[in-house]
């Protein structure tokens, strides 16, 4: 018997700003997620009127209130917003902010404020996890000791602040992160206070960076508080994460090798072994969310249904069989 909860990331439904903007689209996506066998939805931060699910102000504008959005989620037969994924480096039209690099101590208050804004929304929509991008992409260069110290102090402070709201701050490594340089990720994990900050394990992002998600589960000094189950199709072998604008030139357009889709279906042969990941989570007694993310997908509903099938018909029965 597994103890974790299953969620799905909304990202794949919104490839461009003018996609997925109508209530009808949101309703159909949430109902698809629900009938595919998931009980939560993971949101990703965005800004502006064309991002109706992008931040608390837009939720209020579109659904009357954050609580109203929570009711909308439940009306589609989902239990909760599993998590909000936030990159504090992103600016928001809503408060005229331009993004804050957590490596600078001067930005700490801004990062805390942004994360607190989202944590409140999570708490009011049935969730308790905030997933944060700890540092910018590789073009920012390696994080030196001062930067690691500033990052750790920043995220510890964020963790302390969101805990007061009943929300756990977690950090998610991504394959474009500057923390790939000079062992930045491992140095940051070691510097954080595990009582304040948890790990958000994104299996595909780790694999795309050449890291082993299973090893991450076993050796992380931070407690595992959130899992994003994604399957990488390719590794950034050319270290293109250091290119300027890698979010666009590498993640979206595939870099020099023209990778059409970095992350595929769970059922496809890829760089992640979802069965092994779930088995490792089972051994840990992990009880948090496992959120499937197949973004970008050319066919979101198909991806959600195939993921539901693979989890409920293949992976979870196998896990239950091995445990009995």
């Amino acid at each position: 018997m597994t103890t974790f909860k299953l969620g799905y990331a909304i990202d794949q439904w919104k490839p461009q700003f003018d996609d997925f903007v109508r209530r009808r689209d949101h309703e159909r996506a949430l109902k698809t997620i629900a009938i595919a066998g998931f009980s939560g939805v993971q949101l990703t931060a965005g800004t502006g009127r064309w991002q109706p699910l992008g931040n608390p102000q837009q939720l209020e504008a579109n659904f009357g209130s954050v609580d109203g959005f929570g009711e909308f989620v439940r009306s589609c037969a989902l239990e909760a917003v599993a998590a909000y994924v936030v990159d504090p480096g992103q600016g928001f039209h809503e408060d005229l902010s331009h993004g804050a690099d957590a490596r600078s101590p001067a930005n700490r208050d801004a990062v805390v404020a942004t994360c607190g804004w989202f944590a409140q929304a999570v708490a009011r929509t049935g969730g308790d996890i905030l997933v944060c991008r700890p540092a910018p992409s590789g073009a920012a260069g390696k994080a030196d000791d001062a930067a690691i110290k500033a990052l750790a102090e920043c995220w510890n402070t964020v963790g302390r602040a969101t805990a007061e709201l009943g929300v756990t701050t977690t950090l998610r490594f991504d394959f474009l992160s500057c923390l790939r340089l000079a062992d930045g990720w491992d140095r940051l994990l070691a510097a954080l206070d595990p009582a304040l900050v948890g790990l958000a394990l994104d299996t595909g992002e780790l694999a795309a960076a050449g890291r082993d998600p299973l090893a991450e589960i076993e050796r992380s000094p931070l407690p595992l508080r959130h899992v994003i189950l994604s399957n990488a199709r390719a590794t950034d072998e050319l270290d293109e994460f250091t290119r300027p604008g890698a979010e666009f030139t590498v993640r979206q357009s595939g870099g020099q090798r023209g990778i059409p889709r970095w992350f595929g279906e769970l059922e496809e042969p890829g760089l992640v072994d979802p069965a092994a990941v779930l088995a490792a989570l089972g051994r840990l007694g992990y009880g948090g969310w496992v959120v499937v993310n197949t973004a970008p997908s050319p066919h979101p509903a198909t991806s959600a249904l195939l993921s539901g099938y693979h989890l409920h018909q293949i992976l979870l029965p196998a896990l239950a069989g091995s445990a009995s």
């Binding site: 009938i35 066998g37 589609c76 539901g308 018909q313």
Partner: protein
């Protein structure tokens, strides 16, 4: 049927994107597997199919039974119904033309033999030819048509399969008076009714009322929605009214949306109140037209079945 009175089957219309353009699930085993996984993931118990798929089935799977095994490997129970989509022609194959009956009877003997490797509940037919080929629709033509299906039903029962009639909005027997005449003239032992909620709604025949009137002859349903009722000559355009009717570009939609005309909750209450136990098939043919997506429509319809209709009757 176990604890549930109702099980849900999916009528297997499907399209997805292939590397060279749209494909259906019969493209190869991989595309079939992806289709079946999605149907199972959405919570369906089984599928329906068309019997004209026989050649693809024997080519790819060896036999109908082998294909059903492949379906079962994906967690689905079986193939429940097959739809016999005849290419009607008054010169050679038309239920109201007695001279064509021998050919039609032989067609069913051959078809039933081909599908004898599995257990089917129903073979579904459109019982009349296209409206424009049957008009004027007279009591005599309806009686001739009923006589044919009595004989066909007797044949299909020899294979343990019920003959059941599905009245498209563009077929010759679709108005309520003509429907009543047809069922009065056909033998309840051999001729059953398969209620397609959208088709009847399009012809302004209330599917709930119609079902209730013939509940003891109903052997299945297509739960499908529409957003338009036919008007004027919509039902009698050559060569195919579904394509040529000038009022409507897309006739059929998945159930479970606000825009639909079918009252599915009333339909489900009627199903419950008539004590129906068995399969309900969900259908939304051409779901991918006008920007639609089969996977999404299938998820939405199944969500509605699970979270709305099953609360009325399950």
């Amino acid at each position: 049927m176990g604890e549930r009175a109702i099980k849900w089957s999916y009528m297997d219309h499907w399209r997805s994107a292939g590397p060279a353009g749209p494909i259906d699930q019969w493209h190869d085993r991989a595309s079939m597997s992806r289709f079946l996984k999605q149907i199972k993931a959405a919570g369906f118990d089984a599928i329906d199919t068309f019997d004209f798929r026989f050649w693809q089935i024997t080519g790819d799977y060896g036999s109908v039974a082998n294909y059903q095994d492949f379906v079962r490997e994906h967690g689905l129970e079986r193939i429940v119904n097959t739809f016999h989509a005849a290419d009607y022609d008054p010169r050679s194959y038309a239920p109201h033309v007695p001279e064509t009956h021998a050919a039609i009877l032989e067609d069913f003997r051959v078809t039933m033999d081909r599908w004898s490797g599995i257990r089917l509940d129903n073979i579904i037919v459109m019982p009349a030819t296209l409206y424009y080929d049957m008009e004027p629709v007279t009591p005599d033509k309806i009686k001739t048509t009923a006589d044919l299906w009595n004989a066909v039903g007797e044949i299909t029962l020899q294979w343990g399969v019920k003959l059941t009639c599905h009245h498209e909005f563009f077929c010759g027997i679709q108005s309520r008076p003509d429907l009543d005449l047809f069922y009065a003239g056909s033998d309840p032992r051999y001729v059953n009714l398969f209620v397609d909620t959208a088709q009847h709604c399009i012809t302004s025949v209330d599917p709930v009322d119609f079902y209730t009137a013939y509940a003891d002859r109903v052997t299945g349903f297509h739960f499908k929605d529409t957003r338009n009722r036919a008007s004027g000559d919509d039902h009698r355009h050559r060569p195919d009214s579904e394509i040529m009717a000038p009022t409507t570009d897309k006739w059929f939609y998945e159930m479970g949306t606000d825009e639909g005309l079918v009252d599915f909750e009333a339909m489900m209450r009627a199903v419950r109140d008539n004590g129906y136990r068995g399969w309900i098939s969900v259908e939304h043919d051409k779901a991918n037209k006008a920007g639609g997506d089969y996977a999404e429509s299938t998820a939405i319809s199944r969500w509605y079945a699970e979270h709305v209709l099953s609360r009325i009757y399950r």
